[in-house]
Protein backbone atom coordinates (compact mmCIF):
# COMPACT_ATOMS: atom_id res chain seq x y z
CA UNK A 1 0.00 0.00 0.00
CA UNK A 2 2.50 2.68 1.02
CA UNK A 3 4.59 1.70 -2.00
CA UNK A 4 1.70 2.38 -4.38
CA UNK A 5 1.04 5.68 -2.57
CA UNK A 6 4.63 6.73 -3.04
CA UNK A 7 4.48 5.73 -6.70
CA UNK A 8 1.38 7.83 -7.31
CA UNK A 9 2.92 10.79 -5.54
CA UNK A 10 6.04 10.49 -7.66
CA UNK A 11 3.91 10.33 -10.82
CA UNK A 12 1.95 13.40 -9.74
CA UNK A 13 5.14 15.34 -9.04
CA UNK A 14 6.52 14.29 -12.36
CA UNK A 15 3.35 15.48 -14.16
CA UNK A 16 3.51 18.85 -12.37
CA UNK A 17 7.12 19.16 -13.47
CA UNK A 18 6.01 18.65 -17.07
CA UNK A 19 3.29 21.30 -16.67
CA UNK A 20 5.78 23.75 -15.17
CA UNK A 21 8.25 23.09 -17.97
CA UNK A 22 5.64 23.66 -20.69
CA UNK A 23 4.37 26.79 -18.96
CA UNK A 24 7.83 28.31 -18.63
CA UNK A 25 8.63 27.44 -22.23
CA UNK A 26 5.45 29.22 -23.33
CA UNK A 27 6.20 32.21 -21.14
CA UNK A 28 9.73 32.41 -22.50
CA UNK A 29 8.44 32.25 -26.06
CA UNK A 30 5.91 34.99 -25.37
CA UNK A 31 8.41 37.22 -23.58
CA UNK A 32 10.93 36.53 -26.28
CA UNK A 33 8.51 37.80 -28.89
CA UNK A 34 7.44 40.94 -27.01
CA UNK A 35 10.62 43.03 -26.97
CA UNK A 36 11.15 42.37 -30.66
CA UNK A 37 7.72 43.88 -31.44
CA UNK A 38 8.30 46.91 -29.24
CA UNK A 39 11.82 47.61 -30.43
CA UNK A 40 10.81 47.39 -34.05
CA UNK A 41 13.77 45.65 -35.59
CA UNK A 42 12.72 43.03 -38.08
CA UNK A 43 9.16 42.73 -36.83
CA UNK A 44 6.85 42.99 -39.86
CA UNK A 45 4.02 44.50 -37.76
CA UNK A 46 6.26 47.36 -36.61
CA UNK A 47 7.48 47.91 -40.16
CA UNK A 48 3.89 48.12 -41.36
CA UNK A 49 2.97 50.56 -38.55
CA UNK A 50 5.79 52.87 -39.60
CA UNK A 51 4.13 53.27 -43.00
CA UNK A 52 1.12 55.11 -41.50
CA UNK A 53 1.30 58.88 -41.77
CA UNK A 54 3.29 61.22 -43.94
CA UNK A 55 3.08 64.56 -45.69
CA UNK A 56 -0.28 66.18 -46.40
CA UNK A 57 -1.65 69.65 -47.03
CA UNK A 58 -5.27 70.56 -46.28
CA UNK A 59 -7.33 73.59 -45.22
CA UNK A 60 -9.07 74.34 -41.92
CA UNK A 61 -12.47 76.08 -41.48
CA UNK A 62 -10.76 79.50 -41.52
CA UNK A 63 -9.18 78.67 -44.86
CA UNK A 64 -5.69 78.28 -43.39
CA UNK A 65 -3.33 75.66 -44.77
CA UNK A 66 -2.61 72.89 -42.29
CA UNK A 67 0.12 70.41 -43.13
CA UNK A 68 1.85 67.56 -41.33
CA UNK A 69 4.54 70.12 -40.43
CA UNK A 70 1.93 72.42 -38.81
CA UNK A 71 0.89 69.59 -36.50
CA UNK A 72 4.42 68.67 -35.43
CA UNK A 73 5.36 69.31 -31.81
CA UNK A 74 2.18 67.84 -30.36
CA UNK A 75 0.74 64.34 -30.69
CA UNK A 76 -2.57 64.12 -32.48
CA UNK A 77 -5.58 61.84 -32.83
CA UNK A 78 -6.79 61.68 -36.42
CA UNK A 79 -10.26 60.64 -37.54
CA UNK A 80 -11.71 60.49 -41.05
CA UNK A 81 -15.43 61.01 -41.62
CA UNK A 82 -18.07 63.29 -43.08
CA UNK A 83 -20.52 65.73 -41.52
CA UNK A 84 -23.58 63.97 -42.96
CA UNK A 85 -22.62 60.89 -40.96
CA UNK A 86 -25.14 60.81 -38.11
CA UNK A 87 -23.81 57.98 -35.99
CA UNK A 88 -20.19 56.87 -35.86
CA UNK A 89 -18.71 60.33 -36.54
CA UNK A 90 -20.43 62.32 -33.77
CA UNK A 91 -20.07 59.37 -31.40
CA UNK A 92 -16.35 59.06 -32.04
CA UNK A 93 -15.63 62.79 -31.87
CA UNK A 94 -17.65 63.13 -28.67
CA UNK A 95 -15.75 60.19 -27.23
CA UNK A 96 -12.48 61.99 -28.04
CA UNK A 97 -13.77 65.11 -26.31
CA UNK A 98 -14.72 63.05 -23.27
CA UNK A 99 -11.33 61.30 -23.19
CA UNK A 100 -9.58 64.65 -23.38
CA UNK A 101 -11.57 65.79 -20.36
CA UNK A 102 -10.66 62.62 -18.49
CA UNK A 103 -6.97 63.25 -19.12
CA UNK A 104 -7.30 66.38 -17.01
CA UNK A 105 -4.22 68.60 -17.27
CA UNK A 106 -2.82 66.31 -19.98
CA UNK A 107 -5.90 66.85 -22.12
CA UNK A 108 -4.30 69.83 -23.85
CA UNK A 109 -1.24 67.84 -24.81
CA UNK A 110 -2.71 66.44 -28.01
CA UNK A 111 -4.73 67.71 -30.94
CA UNK A 112 -7.92 66.15 -32.24
CA UNK A 113 -8.03 66.26 -36.03
CA UNK A 114 -11.08 65.51 -38.17
CA UNK A 115 -10.60 65.07 -41.91
CA UNK A 116 -13.75 65.13 -44.04
CA UNK A 117 -13.66 62.70 -46.93
CA UNK A 118 -16.78 64.26 -48.47
CA UNK A 119 -15.34 67.30 -50.32
CA UNK A 120 -18.46 67.55 -52.47
CA UNK A 121 -20.72 68.51 -49.55
CA UNK A 122 -18.40 69.48 -46.71
CA UNK A 123 -16.96 72.95 -47.25
CA UNK A 124 -14.34 74.14 -44.75
CA UNK A 125 -16.92 76.52 -43.23
CA UNK A 126 -19.48 73.74 -42.86
CA UNK A 127 -16.91 71.54 -41.17
CA UNK A 128 -16.29 74.39 -38.72
CA UNK A 129 -20.00 74.67 -37.92
CA UNK A 130 -20.25 70.91 -37.51
CA UNK A 131 -17.32 70.78 -35.11
CA UNK A 132 -18.73 73.60 -33.00
CA UNK A 133 -21.19 71.02 -31.64
CA UNK A 134 -18.44 69.29 -29.69
CA UNK A 135 -17.38 70.90 -26.45
CA UNK A 136 -13.68 70.72 -27.24
CA UNK A 137 -11.48 72.23 -29.97
CA UNK A 138 -11.19 69.96 -32.98
CA UNK A 139 -9.11 70.80 -36.05
CA UNK A 140 -11.39 70.19 -39.04
CA UNK A 141 -9.69 69.69 -42.38
CA UNK A 142 -10.56 69.05 -45.97
CA UNK A 143 -9.09 69.66 -49.39
CA UNK A 144 -9.39 69.02 -53.07
CA UNK A 145 -9.92 65.39 -54.09
CA UNK A 146 -6.22 65.24 -54.99
CA UNK A 147 -5.16 66.64 -51.60
CA UNK A 148 -7.47 64.21 -49.83
CA UNK A 149 -6.17 61.31 -51.91
CA UNK A 150 -2.72 62.05 -50.54
CA UNK A 151 -3.64 61.84 -46.85
CA UNK A 152 -5.98 58.91 -47.46
CA UNK A 153 -3.10 57.04 -49.05
CA UNK A 154 -0.67 58.08 -46.32
CA UNK A 155 -2.97 56.57 -43.66
CA UNK A 156 -4.16 53.60 -45.75
CA UNK A 157 -7.69 54.82 -45.25
CA UNK A 158 -10.65 53.54 -47.21
CA UNK A 159 -13.57 55.67 -48.28
CA UNK A 160 -16.22 55.13 -50.87
CA UNK A 161 -19.24 57.16 -51.94
CA UNK A 162 -22.35 54.98 -52.04
CA UNK A 163 -25.51 56.35 -53.70
CA UNK A 164 -28.80 55.79 -51.89
CA UNK A 165 -32.37 56.56 -52.96
CA UNK A 166 -33.44 60.11 -53.70
CA UNK A 167 -30.15 61.15 -55.30
CA UNK A 168 -28.46 61.13 -51.91
CA UNK A 169 -25.37 59.24 -50.89
CA UNK A 170 -23.56 57.96 -47.84
CA UNK A 171 -19.82 57.51 -47.46
CA UNK A 172 -18.29 54.26 -46.28
CA UNK A 173 -15.10 55.06 -44.46
CA UNK A 174 -12.43 53.82 -42.10
CA UNK A 175 -13.62 54.61 -38.58
CA UNK A 176 -10.31 53.98 -36.83
CA UNK A 177 -8.73 56.82 -34.87
CA UNK A 178 -5.01 57.12 -35.62
CA UNK A 179 -2.79 58.21 -32.76
CA UNK A 180 0.34 59.93 -34.00
CA UNK A 181 3.22 61.18 -31.85
CA UNK A 182 4.66 64.69 -31.72
CA UNK A 183 6.91 63.90 -34.69
CA UNK A 184 3.97 62.69 -36.75
CA UNK A 185 4.97 59.06 -36.39
CA UNK A 186 2.44 56.31 -35.92
CA UNK A 187 1.86 55.45 -32.27
CA UNK A 188 -1.33 53.39 -32.10
CA UNK A 189 -4.98 53.24 -33.11
CA UNK A 190 -8.29 53.44 -31.32
CA UNK A 191 -10.85 51.00 -32.69
CA UNK A 192 -14.55 51.81 -32.72
CA UNK A 193 -15.35 48.69 -30.72
CA UNK A 194 -12.70 49.38 -28.10
CA UNK A 195 -13.79 50.26 -24.58
CA UNK A 196 -13.18 53.71 -23.19
CA UNK A 197 -10.79 52.48 -20.50
CA UNK A 198 -8.48 51.01 -23.14
CA UNK A 199 -8.77 54.16 -25.26
CA UNK A 200 -7.92 56.36 -22.30
CA UNK A 201 -4.88 54.26 -21.41
CA UNK A 202 -3.53 54.56 -24.96
CA UNK A 203 -4.09 58.31 -25.06
CA UNK A 204 -2.38 58.69 -21.71
CA UNK A 205 0.65 56.81 -23.01
CA UNK A 206 0.63 58.98 -26.13
CA UNK A 207 0.70 62.29 -24.27
CA UNK A 208 3.07 61.18 -21.52
CA UNK A 209 5.79 59.73 -23.69
Amino acid sequence: MPAIDRGLRRLRLWLWAVVALVASALAAATLGLWPRGVDGGDDPAADYASTFGGPFSLVDPQGRRVTDATLKGKPFALFFGFTHCPDVCPTTLQSMARLRRKLGADGDRFNIVFVSVDPERDTPAEIGTYLSMFDTPIIGLTGTPAELARIVEAYHVYYQRVPIEGGDYVVDHTATVFLMDAQGRFFSTLAYEEGETARLAKLRRLVQR
Binding site: P86, V88, T91, T129, T174
Partner: protein, 151 residues
Protein backbone atom coordinates in the same frame (compact mmCIF):
# COMPACT_ATOMS: atom_id res chain seq x y z
CA UNK B 1 -78.07 53.47 -37.07
CA UNK B 2 -77.52 50.32 -35.16
CA UNK B 3 -75.78 48.71 -38.11
CA UNK B 4 -73.49 51.68 -38.47
CA UNK B 5 -72.63 51.48 -34.77
CA UNK B 6 -71.85 47.81 -35.06
CA UNK B 7 -69.73 48.44 -38.12
CA UNK B 8 -67.87 51.21 -36.35
CA UNK B 9 -67.37 49.00 -33.31
CA UNK B 10 -66.18 46.17 -35.50
CA UNK B 11 -63.75 48.49 -37.28
CA UNK B 12 -62.49 49.71 -33.92
CA UNK B 13 -62.00 46.19 -32.62
CA UNK B 14 -60.23 45.25 -35.83
CA UNK B 15 -57.95 48.28 -35.73
CA UNK B 16 -57.17 48.38 -32.02
CA UNK B 17 -55.04 45.24 -31.70
CA UNK B 18 -53.04 46.23 -34.76
CA UNK B 19 -52.23 49.60 -33.20
CA UNK B 20 -51.35 48.09 -29.87
CA UNK B 21 -49.06 45.41 -31.26
CA UNK B 22 -46.02 47.48 -32.03
CA UNK B 23 -44.43 50.03 -29.75
CA UNK B 24 -41.10 51.78 -29.41
CA UNK B 25 -39.51 52.10 -25.98
CA UNK B 26 -37.07 54.82 -25.02
CA UNK B 27 -37.00 56.40 -28.44
CA UNK B 28 -34.77 59.45 -28.93
CA UNK B 29 -33.02 61.57 -31.54
CA UNK B 30 -29.41 62.68 -31.37
CA UNK B 31 -28.77 66.40 -31.31
CA UNK B 32 -27.11 67.80 -34.40
CA UNK B 33 -24.84 70.67 -35.23
CA UNK B 34 -26.33 73.86 -36.61
CA UNK B 35 -26.64 73.40 -40.35
CA UNK B 36 -26.57 69.61 -40.16
CA UNK B 37 -28.58 67.90 -42.86
CA UNK B 38 -28.82 64.42 -41.42
CA UNK B 39 -29.86 63.13 -38.04
CA UNK B 40 -30.29 59.80 -36.32
CA UNK B 41 -32.92 58.28 -34.06
CA UNK B 42 -32.97 55.20 -31.86
CA UNK B 43 -35.25 53.12 -29.66
CA UNK B 44 -36.34 49.59 -28.86
CA UNK B 45 -39.01 48.35 -31.27
CA UNK B 46 -41.26 45.86 -29.54
CA UNK B 47 -43.69 43.61 -31.39
CA UNK B 48 -46.23 42.17 -28.98
CA UNK B 49 -48.23 40.65 -31.81
CA UNK B 50 -48.27 37.07 -32.98
CA UNK B 51 -47.10 37.89 -36.50
CA UNK B 52 -43.86 39.34 -37.78
CA UNK B 53 -44.02 43.01 -38.67
CA UNK B 54 -41.65 45.19 -40.67
CA UNK B 55 -40.55 48.74 -39.96
CA UNK B 56 -40.59 50.30 -43.42
CA UNK B 57 -39.58 53.85 -42.59
CA UNK B 58 -41.61 56.87 -41.70
CA UNK B 59 -41.83 60.60 -41.79
CA UNK B 60 -41.21 63.68 -39.69
CA UNK B 61 -41.93 67.33 -40.33
CA UNK B 62 -38.30 68.22 -39.54
CA UNK B 63 -36.74 66.24 -42.41
CA UNK B 64 -37.39 65.48 -46.05
CA UNK B 65 -37.14 61.73 -45.50
CA UNK B 66 -36.96 59.23 -42.68
CA UNK B 67 -35.45 55.83 -43.45
CA UNK B 68 -34.25 52.82 -41.52
CA UNK B 69 -30.52 52.32 -41.97
CA UNK B 70 -28.09 49.72 -40.78
CA UNK B 71 -24.55 50.45 -39.69
CA UNK B 72 -21.90 47.80 -39.83
CA UNK B 73 -18.26 47.85 -38.86
CA UNK B 74 -16.08 45.52 -40.86
CA UNK B 75 -12.31 45.58 -40.52
CA UNK B 76 -12.47 49.13 -39.16
CA UNK B 77 -14.61 50.34 -42.06
CA UNK B 78 -18.00 51.84 -41.26
CA UNK B 79 -20.82 51.20 -43.73
CA UNK B 80 -24.34 52.64 -43.58
CA UNK B 81 -27.09 51.25 -45.79
CA UNK B 82 -30.84 51.72 -46.09
CA UNK B 83 -32.60 48.56 -44.91
CA UNK B 84 -34.42 47.35 -48.01
CA UNK B 85 -37.84 45.78 -47.65
CA UNK B 86 -38.16 46.99 -44.09
CA UNK B 87 -36.61 45.91 -40.81
CA UNK B 88 -38.19 42.65 -39.62
CA UNK B 89 -39.55 42.75 -36.07
CA UNK B 90 -40.27 39.13 -35.13
CA UNK B 91 -43.57 38.11 -33.55
CA UNK B 92 -43.28 38.62 -29.80
CA UNK B 93 -39.77 39.95 -30.35
CA UNK B 94 -37.85 43.19 -30.17
CA UNK B 95 -35.19 44.86 -32.27
CA UNK B 96 -32.96 47.58 -30.91
CA UNK B 97 -32.20 50.65 -32.95
CA UNK B 98 -29.05 51.86 -31.23
CA UNK B 99 -25.79 53.71 -31.82
CA UNK B 100 -23.50 51.52 -33.86
CA UNK B 101 -26.39 49.50 -35.31
CA UNK B 102 -29.79 50.03 -36.87
CA UNK B 103 -31.03 53.59 -36.70
CA UNK B 104 -33.66 55.95 -38.02
CA UNK B 105 -31.95 58.15 -40.55
CA UNK B 106 -33.39 61.63 -40.95
CA UNK B 107 -32.33 62.92 -44.35
CA UNK B 108 -32.61 66.52 -45.43
CA UNK B 109 -33.06 68.12 -42.00
CA UNK B 110 -34.98 71.37 -42.25
CA UNK B 111 -33.72 72.54 -38.85
CA UNK B 112 -31.07 71.38 -36.43
CA UNK B 113 -32.16 68.94 -33.75
CA UNK B 114 -31.77 70.83 -30.49
CA UNK B 115 -31.24 69.02 -27.25
CA UNK B 116 -34.31 68.94 -25.01
CA UNK B 117 -36.84 69.60 -27.76
CA UNK B 118 -39.56 67.15 -28.81
CA UNK B 119 -39.90 66.10 -32.43
CA UNK B 120 -42.95 64.38 -33.92
CA UNK B 121 -42.05 61.21 -35.81
CA UNK B 122 -44.43 58.80 -37.54
CA UNK B 123 -43.16 55.29 -38.12
CA UNK B 124 -44.61 53.12 -40.84
CA UNK B 125 -45.05 49.42 -40.12
CA UNK B 126 -46.15 46.89 -42.76
CA UNK B 127 -48.84 45.37 -40.51
CA UNK B 128 -49.41 47.76 -37.62
CA UNK B 129 -49.58 50.77 -39.91
CA UNK B 130 -48.60 54.22 -38.73
CA UNK B 131 -47.26 54.75 -35.23
CA UNK B 132 -47.13 58.36 -34.09
CA UNK B 133 -44.39 59.22 -31.61
CA UNK B 134 -42.86 62.26 -30.04
CA UNK B 135 -39.11 61.87 -29.73
CA UNK B 136 -36.91 63.80 -27.37
CA UNK B 137 -33.65 65.19 -28.71
CA UNK B 138 -30.81 64.02 -26.49
CA UNK B 139 -27.08 64.74 -26.21
CA UNK B 140 -24.53 63.09 -28.50
CA UNK B 141 -23.51 60.85 -25.62
CA UNK B 142 -26.98 59.52 -24.92
CA UNK B 143 -27.50 55.76 -25.01
CA UNK B 144 -23.88 54.81 -24.54
CA UNK B 145 -23.58 51.40 -22.98
CA UNK B 146 -20.57 52.38 -20.90
CA UNK B 147 -21.12 52.83 -17.17
CA UNK B 148 -19.92 56.43 -17.61
CA UNK B 149 -22.80 57.24 -19.94
CA UNK B 150 -22.90 60.94 -20.67
CA UNK B 151 -23.78 62.49 -17.33
Amino acid sequence: MKTRFILAAAAFVAAAPALAQVSVDGAWLRETAPGARTGAGYGLVVNAGSAEDRLLGGSTPVAARLEVHSMTMDGGIMRMRPVTGGLAIPAGGRVALKPGGYHLMLIGLKQPLRRGTMVPVTLDFARAGLLKLSLRVESIDHGRESPHAGH
